[in-house]
């Protein structure tokens, strides 16, 4: 019994789980390795076997050569996966927005159920919705691939074509300079914001005659929104600094995705607060108009969140590709 050889075969066996001829495959490999070790390097000791095993290859790669290698989704349909998932997600997104705005649940039988939810619920529901849509499309394409029939799927064009989204060219001098200028500006802005916050506990002010500046928001919401904005600015600054000094496009995508995710969390944190008295300034309008102002602010933040989410999805698509487009 050669321990190293048996461990190696055990690993190969793991990757061949469920195959009827597994034992015979392992017997063939065992016989070959022992024979080679004896014939080429002398008696089959553990050290000799180790060399022969290393030459035979990594267990997973060895096992994969026995597998049929039929793709789960036929190559002709692989490009449809993100395209159709994005389309389905767009429909899903509309229903999610309707569910949030009208505080109702929606059922599009039998495909879609969108429960009634608040803003914070929607922020957490969105990634799950995308995964569910992606899974449904993948499943349909899997069955189409397995059927082996000559099916021609339509290829819808988007205004924002995620499939043709090109990663930012991190290698050009212009982009480097832009990233450095951006990083410098953001750094200055972040510094200014931090300075203001340390002195006044807020970074939002208002004035009517450029004389005396007064805080725009009440202390508690003012502090929270200021901190959220400072944190987002800081994340953006770090992202730009990393991009300015890195040549990797993939790293740039990762940085953008992390900054986008962070911004989404910050927006969610602000939206989560249920302040009734938000402004420190008395606005001389009716309660109905005040509600309208709050709704407009919420919708604006939701719109920003949507834009950030689109950028996040685009970055995830870029990262999902085997190689970034050249």
């Amino acid at each position: 019994m050669h321990k190293k050889l048996e461990n190696y075969l055990e690993e190969i066996s793991h990757f061949l789980s469920g195959r009827e001829e597994r034992e015979e495959i392992l017997a063939e490999i065992r016989s070959h390795i022992l024979e080679k070790a004896e014939q080429e390097t002398g008696p089959a000791g553990e050290a000799t076997l180790e060399k022969v095993i290393a030459a035979y290859g990594e267990p997973r790669r060895v096992a994969e050569k026995y597998l049929d290698g039929r793709p789960v989704i036929a190559p002709a349909f692989q490009r449809h996966l993100f395209r159709y998932a994005s389309l389905l997600f767009a429909v899903h997104l509309v229903f999610i927005l309707l569910a949030v705005i009208f505080k109702k649940s929606f059922i599009v039988f039998p495909f879609l159920f969108v429960p009634r939810m608040g803003v914070i619920g929607a922020v957490f529901y969105l990634p799950m919705a995308f995964l569910a849509d992606f899974g449904v499309v993948a499943l349909v394409l899997y069955f189409i691939s397995r059927s082996g029939r000559e099916i021609k799927l339509p290829w819808p064009k988007f205004a924002l074509d995620l499939d043709e989204v090109k990663p930012a060219d991190a290698k050009t001098v212009a982009n480097k300079v832009a990233a450095m200028v951006g990083a410098g500006t953001m750094l200055a802005l972040t510094g200014l914001a931090v300075n203001l916050f340390v002195k006044h506990r807020t970074i939002f002010f208002f004035t009517t005659n450029f004389g005396k500046f007064r805080p725009l928001f009440m202390p508690e919401p003012g502090r929270l929104i200021s901190l959220a904005l400072i944190a987002t600015l800081a994340a953006g600054t770090i992202g730009l600094i990393v991009k300015a000094f890195s040549l990797s496009r993939r790293l740039a995508c990762w940085v953008d995705a992390v900054v986008d995710s962070f911004a989404l969390v910050m927006i969610a944190m602000v939206l989560r607060q249920q302040y009734t008295d938000f402004f420190a300034v008395r606005i001389p309008v009716s309660p109905a108009h005040q509600t309208w102002i709050y709704t407009t602010l919420t919708v604006t933040l939701l719109f920003i969140a949507l834009m950030v989410a689109i950028d996040l999805v685009a970055n995830v698509v870029r990262l999902g590709r085997r190689r970034p487009a050249k």
Partner: protein, 112 residues
């Protein structure tokens, strides 16, 4: 360049190895002996590629495998079947035709 050449060589070898195996197995042989036979002719074959190929050929009925348990170490011997011979002859015809086309084109290039 070397990487690209290597990857094209791998693609070319994929089909060629099937033909080589079907030709070699006119006489019974086991895996390791086959690797040695190819190597003696200056043709390197990845061991971990040969066995899966033999298995696929066996499944398609082109070669037949049989374990020899008479020795201290069991060995699986392979031999070409009648269908395998038929396939081999067909592949050899294709090979000769391709070889002729290639030689003809190289000759034309020299005269051009």
């Amino acid at each position: 360049m070397d990487n690209e050449l290597g990857s094209i060589e791998t693609e070319m070898k994929r089909g060629f190895l099937q033909l080589l195996v079907l030709v070699l197995l006119e006489k019974d042989a086991y895996g390791y002996a086959m690797v040695r036979a190819f190597r003696d002719l200056g043709y390197e074959v990845e061991e971990n590629t040969l066995y899966p190929l033999l298995r696929r050929l066996e499944k398609r009925g082109l070669v037949q495998g049989k374990w020899d348990l008479s020795e201290e170490r069991p060995r699986k011997f392979f031999a070409v079947t009648p269908s395998g011979r038929e396939m081999r002859d067909g592949l050899l015809d294709i090979w000769r035709k391709q070889d002729e086309v290639l030689k003809h084109m190289i000759k034309e290039n020299r005269h051009a």
